[in-house]
Subunit: 346 residues, 2 copies
Amino acid sequence: MVQFVGVSEIRRIVERVGIEQVLTRMTDYLEADFRRWERFERAPRLASHSKGGVIELMPTQDDDLYTVKFVNGHPYNFEQGLQTVVALGIMADVATGYPVFLSEMTILTALRTAAMSALAAKHLARPEARTMAIIGLGAQSEFQAVAFRAVLGIDTLRVYDVDPAATAKFLRNMSGRGCQVIACDEPGSAVMGADIVTTVTADKAQNTILSDNMVGAGVHLNAVGGDCPGKTELQKDILSRASVFVELTEQTRIEGEIQQMPADFPVTELWQVISGEAPGRTRRDEITLFDSVGFAVEDFAALRLLRDLSLETGFYETLDLITSPSDPRDLFGMIASPVMPAARAA
Amino acid sequence: MVQFVGVSEIRRIVERVGIEQVLTRMTDYLEADFRRWERFERAPRLASHSKGGVIELMPTQDDDLYTVKFVNGHPYNFEQGLQTVVALGIMADVATGYPVFLSEMTILTALRTAAMSALAAKHLARPEARTMAIIGLGAQSEFQAVAFRAVLGIDTLRVYDVDPAATAKFLRNMSGRGCQVIACDEPGSAVMGADIVTTVTADKAQNTILSDNMVGAGVHLNAVGGDCPGKTELQKDILSRASVFVELTEQTRIEGEIQQMPADFPVTELWQVISGEAPGRTRRDEITLFDSVGFAVEDFAALRLLRDLSLETGFYETLDLITSPSDPRDLFGMIASPVMPAARAA
């Protein structure tokens, strides 16, 4: 039997454990896996494109576990009231190849993306950072806010969205969560005095959500929204002034903010900072940038945590996905009943 | 909700519909999809290797549906009483990227591999063929026998396996299925007088299950077991005498029997024969060979059929894999309950 966590179970798990605690533990799981980055198979994602969007497979494995995320990206789903991104995950045992865990990953990916941002900021932002600006108040924004509150102690949020309804939703969801939220009229006012600036807009275009003059010394930039070819949020000049940290260099050069820069633009991989092989922030006035696009190792850590949480809470179902004939060579005997000899004519 | 067919449901479906009928319809679905072969995305499979085996992802899509098979190959699982191959499948709607169907594919792959062999033989074997030899009586053997019985009217089976227990299992499973089964002491005697020879052995090595002198004029060879690098069943000389038909040329040159031949060894892709673009058998005394390795389009057809059969019979469960927040941007509101303001101290 394969352990299964669907939407209702992940909701129960998060309710039981508490979303702050889930995000904190997710950050720990991510940190542990980034520390042993070189132990993972790092295959490119496999993308199937169509008119309406893309379906991707993101596999990775270490010596013990294999995971793959199935995830789509369909920007126009929004117009039909559907999610633009839906995901599911499979975990298998490397020794036998048997699937052991299957789960929804739409909510799980939202949690892991926020925890990943918080992990990067923990290593790159100034330690005394308490104020974060968020530009873009879509589906990912509250996850970011709660993760930064839980992991870094952010207590003030300066926020902006083009759509007042998105701002209202954000204010409603963040009410009572221990953060002062200041809704701003424009991005320029949101970033004022912020120690950390998170950009997480949805529009698929080369936008300038942040222009160069908006980014002051010492700020940590958490660029979440620029995550595929043709989709960026930062003015190029910012990148030239910043120390840029990425997940997997070759992937980020195609999908991240640095797609705007030459192929030899210097970057540091975040795992090197986390494992102590490379410095993170070296000066108080340095601008650091986490150019986040998402990588399979993060889904691996997220699935690992969700499986543990579901075992701890007992919130899971089981799926009969595995055949187990008494004789492995007798698959046919499992599926086809023996045929009775036809009654002989008298 | 996502439609789900597990092991117990596929067993119920096959029992209700009848395995011969399932295999016949599977052959029709395969034929329909091979006829429109060029409409499919034909990506290479994505393999993750480890000490004990391999885990593969096999995706494809047409304009409407996307499918991916997760499948492992762990030859030593057998020693622990586990299946060497376990698979599961996902089908998604190309327009939205949403998963619509999820199923076990261990049994389904056994069915589709046999139906695929029968489809190839329908187009390549002599029409009057009634006797088939089967060398290798493992998990796939009865599926082959029943598919050839149902689709081509094969009524005599001459069979051989190194292990008498496998032969006994085959005889038991085929009892009452309308075929005369003749258990033979050696491969050479099994192939005698056979119109079709199916080789489906499991040993991962360059073996000579059939040597050149065992293959007479006019025979159709159905080579199922030679399906990965370093695993072949036929003596090279046979290939030189035969007209060879494959699924996808570049994949078969690596995985099939023709890995023994030079890179320019001439082959015909089976979809060309089925769609009328290339001839199949042209002479009664021609030796035809279907060098089968399995391809994603076959899994696509198989998942399509299983979904239809499960809707027809009503045998399926549903999985809550899809989040559906009332506002697609309010994923957070789905997972985190609103926080009550703390009671004010008196």
